[in-house]
Symmetry: C2
């Protein structure tokens, strides 16, 4: 086994500098890096440049902010751990979801609020707060022993929340720059509110669509034309309603053909991990949970089964009072979550073609794929999963739950395909941390324990050695 | 037969003063009297005061702007035609529909544009431009023979586009002030673009609803919660889609129970009045007309059959790019057009109860009736209809078509119920004049011929005499 410097100095450094680190995170969270908003492109770039400067300050080399067809990609490296040590690719995203509806935030989303040991801010959990833990783990090692136990490469993107469009191409054009033995990602959550850590060994893929139903060339008087001219809002409602049957199954022909059923091992791993349905119902504030797709538990429907959701719908008059019109058009945003082995390209075509096929002759329907990403899976017996489990237990005092996640990180599958590396996902966000919602939050202890986890993880990976990871 | 002053002087006066009258109409159309917009309440009142001043200037007496629970009601009278002469109640509305979508107007909606013999402006057809013809007919009579051939009472409201809420109560409290033998209304259209006039002897009633579907207490991450928490946008789409079956029938139990079928006489009157479906399709710019309710012609579906339309729908994310959420809520505005003998109160309850009944247990549904009005019908053999037909033929050079209209004037039925008077509807707006749509317009000749029609109509009613109308 390879001799690796003890982690205690790095851990002590972290405890001694918590205040400074939280101040730096506050500064990072104030940058309004909303990738979906063209008006905020400058803020997104500012976040990228903040990271570039921070990486250099910590002691990384070759920190570079790369221009892309969309938002910048930040890379850097520290490669002095030697050939025997594994090379870890640190991935995270510095862009955030739009913050609206703004009026539901207790404090403005980009003015972090500290309360009850929580940090409330857009991006606190997804993903700035988690990405930040990796930076500080590196700072802790470099400031104490002047070295990292593993070789580390960095790749931070600014397009994750809008589909990571530039990433695949970027990875293809920089295979050497990014070559590594393992990708480590913190863009997921703890298993529960009881500080049980979690290793997410699979993420769902996604395909996101916009559909526009156009009828008359202008809004029409519903009294003079009602009954004679099809109403695009009624038509859209009918099209969307038909996408699921009354048993919660998606009706698009072929949609389930490639869905991989759970193995017995997975079912075993899930045993005892059932969701507390009453607690979930209370947490989200609904009168009852969705029956969802019949034959699957809530836990499975949230993680290992594909889903379809209307993410937005609009058309006609939504102002005060009454406007009696047949709207000229109605639109919706629609997304499906995909699971192994669904092919996101195939599903993208399938959904667009289906929407066109079910469109009545009385309207024009434009359906387009906005973005899509493949599901990703890392075998639970991959050596890095075991090392990550020990690192999480060391930091959180409990062994982690192994599970498949419901969310999507579109570039994970691309990284596997293009760079030929597996990913291990160690999540530090709160299980109910309002990802993509108003009042997003992360516990301060998750941030500090996250930093500790990464310190332990790199040490563990160094001890395992490059050979074993490459062999996996 | 009663001796009535000749109309030629009044008609000559109208031709001589067309320029002045169009200038005055321009001034009236510039007042932004959007009743649905609380921010424009001052503009609505300004329109009422403009009318009060104009009525007095013309020679009406007792011009009064009455405050109500909503927008003002304007009354005035001229009652010196004698007991033998009928008393006509002049009704119109000075409020207009909201103008959005603003970007589809060639010119701002409240800056009238004259082009190709048309006046483009919000309210040019519905109803300011039509109401104005009655004012100028009175001015023509009073300035030439110093008298009107009939007694005239005036009632102009500012709530027609939002349901005429204050009208019923106002009529109940002012039965004597408003007592009359007949109500004359110009708030409808010509039959076609070929200047064929039209007497609308029936209007559809209406009930207008808002439905709000609430799910989670905040927008949720569709990856973490999709499949476990019902999506209010999907639920709303399903509820709306289920309101009609695939044969175009409204599925709400009991909805059609009181619908009066067409008489043979009506079918005969409609013979030869079939809509040019290709021309209609071209006019509104749709790839195909709605199949609509099977078993009824396009003409019948537009006028004598009830309809259901989603007037607006909104929920979740509609901004640029992708936001992967389960929206906390989704809403729609929804209206039904009613025909004799549907009871708008009963239908109002029926629809609200149905929406509550079909709401799944996974969401909260709030459905409320915003406003409703009864259908109205005046027998085609009513003497005033014959007089109106002659007046229209005198002004337009063609006999009018008698038909039932698809639109709604909620207070017509109230007037019949409360004041005990029938209404005759002579319409001057263009058949495709973009009522409730961008670029609303009216032909200048319809305005001038409308003034002539009212001059003839009053003369004809005077000759018919009060007795005959009262007997009807």
């Amino acid at each position: 086994m390879i001799k690796v410097p003890d982690a205690s100095a790095a851990l002590a450094y972290l405890s001694a500098h918590t205040e400074d680190h939280l101040r730096q995170l506050d500064e990072f969270l104030r940058i309004e890096s909303v990738s979906a908003d063209p008006g905020r492109a400058g803020e997104v770039r500012r976040a990228a440049e903040w990271l570039g400067a921070e990486l250099s300050r910590i002691g990384f080399e070759n920190a570079t902010v790369h221009d892309t067809s969309s938002h910048p990609i930040v890379t850097a490296d520290w490669l002095h751990a030697g050939r025997a040590a594994p090379t870890v690719l640190m991935y995270g995203h510095y862009d955030v979801q739009p913050a609206d509806p703004l009026d539901e935030w207790v404090r403005p989303p980009f003015e972090p609020r500290y309360e009850d040991g929580r940090i409330y801010a857009r991006g606190s959990g997804d993903d700035k707060g988690q990405l930040f833990t990796h930076l500080k783990a590196a700072e802790a090692w470099l400031s104490t022993s002047g070295a990292l136990p593993v070789n580390v490469k960095v790749m931070f993107e600014g397009d994750e929340e809008i589909g990571s469009a530039p990433m695949a191409d970027f990875m293809r054009r920089h295979r050497d720059l990014l070559a590594a033995d393992l990708m480590v990602v913190s863009d997921s959550t703890l298993f529960d509110d009881d500080e049980t850590p979690q290793i997410t060994y699979s993420m769902r893929g996604m395909a996101y669509f916009e559909v526009h139903v156009s009828g008359p060339s202008r809004d029409l008087h519903s009294g003079h034309y009602g009954g004679a001219v099809a109403n695009p809002a009624n038509v859209l409602a009918g099209m969307l309603a038909g996408l699921k049957d009354d048993r919660g199954r998606i009706t698009i022909p072929g949609f389930y053909d490639r869905v991989r059923e759970l193995t017995d091992a997975e079912r075993a791993a899930h045993a005892g991990l059932e969701v507390d349905e009453e607690a979930l119902r209370e947490e989200v504030g609904v009168p009852a949970l969705d029956d969802g797709e019949q034959g699957y538990s809530v836990f499975e429907r949230r993680s290992v089964r594909p889903t379809l959701d209307v993410n937005g719908i609009w058309g006609g008059y939504s102002g005060a009072g009454a406007k009696t019109i047949i709207p000229a058009r109605a639109s919706a945003k629609l997304s499906v979550r995909l699971v192994p082995d669904q092919d996101f390209r195939e599903i993208g075509r399938m959904v667009v073609e289906h929407l066109q096929r079910i469109a009545p002759a009385t309207v024009r329907v434009e359906a387009k794929l906005l973005h899509a990403g493949a599901p990703a899976l890392t075998p639970v017996d991959h050596p890095a999963v075991g090392v990550a489990a020990q690192a999480l237990e060391a930091a959180f005092g409990k062994p982690p739950v192994l599970s498949r996640g419901g969310g999507s990180i579109p570039m994970l599958a691309d990284a596997e395909e293009i760079l030929g590396i597996k990913s291990v996902l160690v999540g530090f966000a709160a299980a109910n941390g309002n990802f993509h919602s108003p009042n997003e939050w992360i516990p301060v202890t998750n941030v500090t324990r996250g930093m500790q986890t990464i310190v332990h993880l790199w040490k563990g990976l160094a001890e395992a050695g490059a050979e074993e990871l490459r062999g996996a």
